[in-house]
């Protein structure tokens, strides 16, 4: 599995977005001051099936610490995403970006891609792919970001 961790010398400001959600829009400015884990996923992406249970567990454990997970869906057809959500519960924010504009802004280069954004709105780290064996280390990094 390929994991690319980017620690940029000059932290990049996380691009803003305002996307439709399940019931109401999801906007990045409403997440100010929180530690945000943005996960770019799609129904056809095999590793995403494993990442969803892990993310729902993560959200429950660290919500009190100020972690917000936003799962941005990149399916071109909404019903495919809905079918996936029926099978994989997502007790976190889900937004829809069918045209991929937000994905492009975040330079998504593989599926899934998860981006850890600090409370100051800068990108701390990006991971490509989901490997259950490396989830523990990723969780530790997220915990550390929550402490800041």
């Amino acid at each position: 599995m390929s994991v690319i961790a980017e620690a940029a010398p000059r932290p990049r400001v996380a691009p803003t977005f305002r996307l439709p959600g399940i019931s109401s829009p999801v906007a990045s400015d409403s997440l100010a001051g929180k530690v945000v884990l943005i996960d770019f996923w799609a129904s056809w992406c095999e590793p995403c099936r494993k990442s969803f249970p892990w993310m729902s567990d993560l959200q429950k454990r660290r919500a009190a610490e100020g972690l917000v997970i936003v799962a941005i869906n990149l399916d071109k057809e909404r019903d495919k995403a809905d079918a996936f959500l029926d099978q994989h519960p997502a007790p976190f924010l889900v937004a829809f970006d069918p045209e991929g504009k937000t994905a492009e802004a975040y330079h998504v280069s593989g599926m899934p891609t998860s981006v850890l954004v600090g409370r100051d709105g800068t990108i701390l780290e990006t991971h490509i792919g989901f490997d259950p064996k490396k989830a523990g280390a990723w969780d530790a990094k997220i915990a550390e970001a929550c402490k800041r």
Binding site: E46, G100, A103, S109
Partner: protein, 77 residues
């Protein structure tokens, strides 16, 4: 002569396809790979069917369908 033409043709095809670097990389983003992710989107959609076909035609015709590597197994042609 035809051997040289064949090798040249092969080299040309590979160079052309490799050179399409710029075009493809720009237009097919990771999130555009929905159709490509389907099981049926492969150059050889059914390896079993391909193996059966290679086997039939290898036995009935004079060419070999690229099954030379590690295959072998009968003196039929």
């Amino acid at each position: 002569m035809s051997s040289h033409r064949g090798v040249l043709g092969a080299a040309l095809l590979i160079i052309v396809i490799a050179g399409m670097n710029g075009c493809a990389a720009m237009s097919v983003h990771p999130w555009d790979r929905d159709l490509l992710a389907e099981k049926k989107m492969k150059l050889v959609p059914s390896p079993t069917e391909r193996a059966i076909d290679d086997h039939i035609y290898f036995s009935k015709e004079g060419s070999t369908g690229g099954q030379g590597v590690g295959g072998g197994g009968c003196g039929c042609n």
